[in-house]
Symmetry: C2
Subunit: 320 residues, 2 copies
């Protein structure tokens, strides 16, 4: 983080026509942008929501309320402009890219073996680097993948301790029997892979999905290219938690866009030391919570950039 | 509230390409708009932030960190486009009007007598009706007035019980000595006016300010004209709390845009039965928190209006 840039932001903020601190977290947001863009006058001209879509072998265990065919159908919906994230990006002038990750070939069912082999896991991580191409200045990774809250919950259980039920929720709306199957699948996977869960990259490969591997790459590439990252919900934060387990500093450039209604997302954010900007009971994925947060972030920046100063506006400062 | 309109919104929502309930409070927002606009397909084409500026006799008691001259200077700043609320409204295509309420003639110091006489209180309340002229479809009243968190805290103490310190905060950033003066002024006013505080309109007249009276009128006019209202922070909610004390239903059309960092705003909202959309540690007034909330509200409506349905997008529904 660029502390000189943060100091420049604070110096300007103190001159703006408002009581010190009165914009609350909007002020903190601008400092965060400055710190990680390395810019005393941070800018958001090309924000991007990058949605990664993957299919999951574990979906065959009946862990989701929707059939696995929905992943590809929703990718089509993103392309046609019909999903929630399309409306959010359109409303706030945010770029949207969709990365389809071999949907016709789901990952291996992790209750039976590793979800990905080593070569595929590494290649998918590296594929995530593409997100930062084209000169973007703010990134929100998003995801779509029937079964992926099962994968995310398995990752949390592996990282932070089980049982599965500590981390699972109803995802897209699974019923009691489905939730029981979800917990059973995760607990079986934790037992099967037990001897390999001390290494976060092995957790990613064994219990993750392609979208989670790619998002880890995207978040990492953003860090290396001074692009601040807005975290979305339960599944995106599994990628962040894996990076955090490798090195806490690896997600220093990430802000939590929102806290999801899904399962243990609030606990995950607390563990990662991230205080969410929004708490709207959302649990959709697609980068939707992060996209809404970008609307706030852009507004915070507009206030900082365009407000008058006490001097320019002829407004008196605090009484002596 | 129009329950048929709410039912129409729910019926469409169930067809949109997302799991039921996955957009959380964004779904609730659209239902609220439909209920109070009386429209099965609610719209926000002309949202308005209406900022009321007033000066307060009690400012002479040294209750604020800023001199009273700042009220008029900030009105000039609103007019020139330099304040935070200007940037927020510009970013999200929200109309902004500023109503200056006889700034050269502050209300009477309520530690010495009623802030307003009966005629002025009634006229100012009625003046608030103008906010809804011009066919607006969403209203956020905002305010500016050095000393007005003292007035708001006095109103809460009168409505919900004292002492002053239960309701006061540092406003624009008053120091310990100033906070002590603020508490002393309110406690003195509560004693002076004690025999007249059972009637909310008398509380408004004796302890309120012109901006609070005008906002009560604006909120009331909105209700009568099917215009939903977004509440801002600590001072705006004093107007709402007075209306609520007259009849709880009088603020049924209001949603809480945010919870302020000021004093007891969270407790006020809980008492009014309003759950805030945003919690960003803001304490600026001007309608700034409500303005940001309007950005979310507009996005919620865009999702509801423009998302594809399962049928139109060819997306499978929940598994049987």
């Amino acid at each position: 983080p660029d502390q000189a840039a943060v100091a420049a932001v604070r110096a300007r903020d103190a001159q703006l026509t408002k009581p010190p601190g009165a914009l609350g977290r909007l002020e903190e947001i601008v400092e965060w942008l400055a710190a990680w863009q390395g810019a005393p006058a941070p800018a958001i001209a090309r924000p991007l929501v990058a949605v990664y879509a993957g299919n999951h072998g574990v979906a065959a265990q009946g862990v989701s309320a929707f059939p696995a065919s929905v992943t590809a159908q929703m990718v089509q919906n993103f392309t046609s402009g019909g999903a929630a994230i399309n409306q959010i990006c359109k409303a706030h002038d945010i770029g949207l890219k969709v990365y389809e990750l071999a949907l016709e070939r789901p990952t291996f069912d992790f209750t039976q073996g590793p979800a990905m082999d080593e070569r595929e896991a590494a290649a998918t991580f590296a594929y995530g680097f593409e997100a930062i191409e084209g000169g973007i200045d703010l990134l929100a990774p998003g995801e779509m993948g029937i079964g992926n809250t099962t994968s995310a919950a398995a990752i949390y259980a592996a990282l932070f301790g089980g049982p599965a039920s500590r981390w699972t929720g109803r995802g897209t709306g699974v019923d009691d029997a489905g939730l029981a199957r979800k917990n059973a699948a995760i607990d079986a996977a934790l037992a099967l892979h037990a001897r390999h869960l001390s290494d976060p990259l092995e957790i990613m490969r064994r219990l993750g999905g392609r979208e989670i591997a790619a998002m880890m790459g995207a978040i990492t590439a953003a860090r290396l290219n001074r692009v601040p990252v807005v975290l979305d919900g339960f599944v995106v934060c599994a990628a962040a938690a894996l990076l955090h387990a490798i090195a806490p500093d690896a997600i220093g450039h990430c802000i939590a866009g929102h806290v999801s209604a899904e399962g243990a997302h609030a606990e995950v954010l607390a563990t990662l030391g991230k205080k969410p900007l929004l708490d709207l009971g959302m649990r959709l994925g697609e980068g939707s919570g992060a996209g809404l947060a970008i609307a706030l972030i852009k507004t915070a920046l507009a206030c900082h950039r365009d407000m008058a100063t006490f001097e320019s506006a002829g407004v008196s400062g605090k009484s002596a």
